[in-house]
Amino acid sequence: MLKYLLILLLLVTATSVTFSQTTEATSVQATTNTGNAEIEMADILRRDGKIYVVVAVLVTVLAGLIFYLIRLDRKVSKLEQQFKS
C-alpha cells in the first residue's frame, strides 16, 4: 500500500514538472536572477573549492545514517527468519 503511495507521488511529480516547464514563459522576470552580482552568494566558497568539503561532510553523515538503518533492517530480518524456522 505504501508503494502505491510512492508511485502516485512519482506520477504527480512527473506531471507537475512537465506542466511547470511549459509555463516558463509566463513566469515573473525576477525569478531567473542567477546572474545578479549585487546579491551576495557563497561564490568565494565555490571558487576555493570548499563547497566540495561541505558536500563531502553531508554525504558522509548521510552514508552513516543509511548504513545504520540498513544494519537495523538486517537485524529485524534475522529475527523474522528465526521465528519462521
Binding site: L2, K3, L5, L6, L9, L10, T13, S16, V17, S20, Q21, E24, S27, V28, A30, T31, T32, N33, T34, G35, N36, I39, E40, M41, A42, I51, V54, V55, L58, V59, L62, I66, L69, I70, L72, D73, R74, V76, S77, L79, E80, F83
Partner: protein, 222 residues
C-alpha cells in the same frame, strides 16, 4: 534485509538531493542568499510528516474496522516517525528563521500552529503509554489519532493563510512556487520530497516489523 527497488531509490535520491542541492544554481534573492537551499531539507520534512501521519491515521481507521496487530503497529510507528519529522521540521525552521527573520521564534502563525499540532501528537504518544492492555490501547489511541489528524489540517493549512505571516504562501506572501522556486530548484525539490518521505517510510517499515516480531515472540513465550 531485502534490497527492494524503493530502498535503493531512496538512497540514490537522498544522495542526489544533498549533492545537487549544494552544487546546483539557485536564484539570487535578497535576505535568503544561499539559505534558499534549505527548501530541499526543511520543507520535505513537513511534506514527509503530513504523508506519514496520513498513513498513520489510515491504519488507525483500518484498525477500528479490522483489529489486528499489524494495523496498530503501523499506525503507532507512522505516528512516531511523523512526529520525528515534525520535530526536525520545526528545529530546521527555527534555525532558518534565526538568520532570515531575525529570531528563532517570531510567533509566526505557522510556527505556532505546527507547534500546537506536534503537541497534540505528543499527547497521542502519552495516551498510548497509559494503557496496559493492548486492545484497549490500540482502540482508544486509534480514535484519538483521527481527531489529532483532523485538528492538524486546519492548523497547518487554513489558519496560517488567514492572518499575517512571514512564511511564503501565507499571509498574502507569494508562495515559493510562483516567485522564488524556479525550474532549476524544482528539479531538486521534488526528488527531495520523495527521498525524505521514502526514508521515513523505510523507518516506519523497520519499526513496524520489529514491533510485530516482538509481539509474536512474546506470544510464543507466554
Amino acid at each position: 534485509m531485502k534490497f527492494t527497488w524503493w530502498k535503493i531509490l531512496t538512497v540514490l535520491l537522498l544522495l542526489y538531493t544533498v549533492i545537487a542541492g549544494l552544487l546546483n544554481d539557485v536564484p539570487h534573492l535578497a535576505i535568503l542568499n544561499e539559505t534558499i537551499r534549505n527548501i530541499y531539507f526543511h520543507v520535505p520534512m513537513w511534506f514527509g510528516m503530513i504523508i506519514i501521519l496520513t498513513v498513520s491515521v489510515v491504519y488507525s481507521i483500518r484498525y477500528l474496522r479490522t483489529p489486528s496487530i499489524k494495523n496498530d503497529a503501523i499506525a503507532e510507528s507512522a505516528a512516531k516517525v511523523g512526529v520525528l519529522f515534525g520535530i526536525l521540521g520545526i528545529i530546521t525552521g527555527m534555525e532558518w528563521a534565526r538568520f532570515t527573520w531575525g529570531e528563532f521564534w517570531s510567533n509566526d502563525p505557522k510556527q505556532n500552529a505546527s507547534a500546537i499540532g506536534l503537541l497534540i501528537y505528543f499527547a497521542y504518544l502519552v495516551l498510548r503509554s497509559s494503557f496496559a492492555e493492548q486492545q484497549q490501547r490500540a482502540r482508544i489511541s486509534a480514535v484519538y489519532n483521527i481527531f489529532a489528524f483532523a485538528a492538524l489540517i486546519p492548523l497547518l493549512f487554513i489558519l496560517p493563510r488567514l492572518t499575517d505571516s512571514l512564511h511564503p504562501g501565507n499571509g498574502g506572501n507569494p508562495g515559493f512556487s510562483s516567485y522564488d522556486l524556479d525550474d532549476n530548484m524544482r528539479m531538486v525539490f521534488y526528488p527531495a520530497v520523495i527521498a525524505w518521505t521514502m526514508l521515513g517510510i523505510w523507518i516506519v517499515n523497520v519499526k513496524t516489523r520489529l514491533e510485530i516480531i516482538s509481539y509474536k515472540l512474546h506470544e510464543q513465550h507466554a
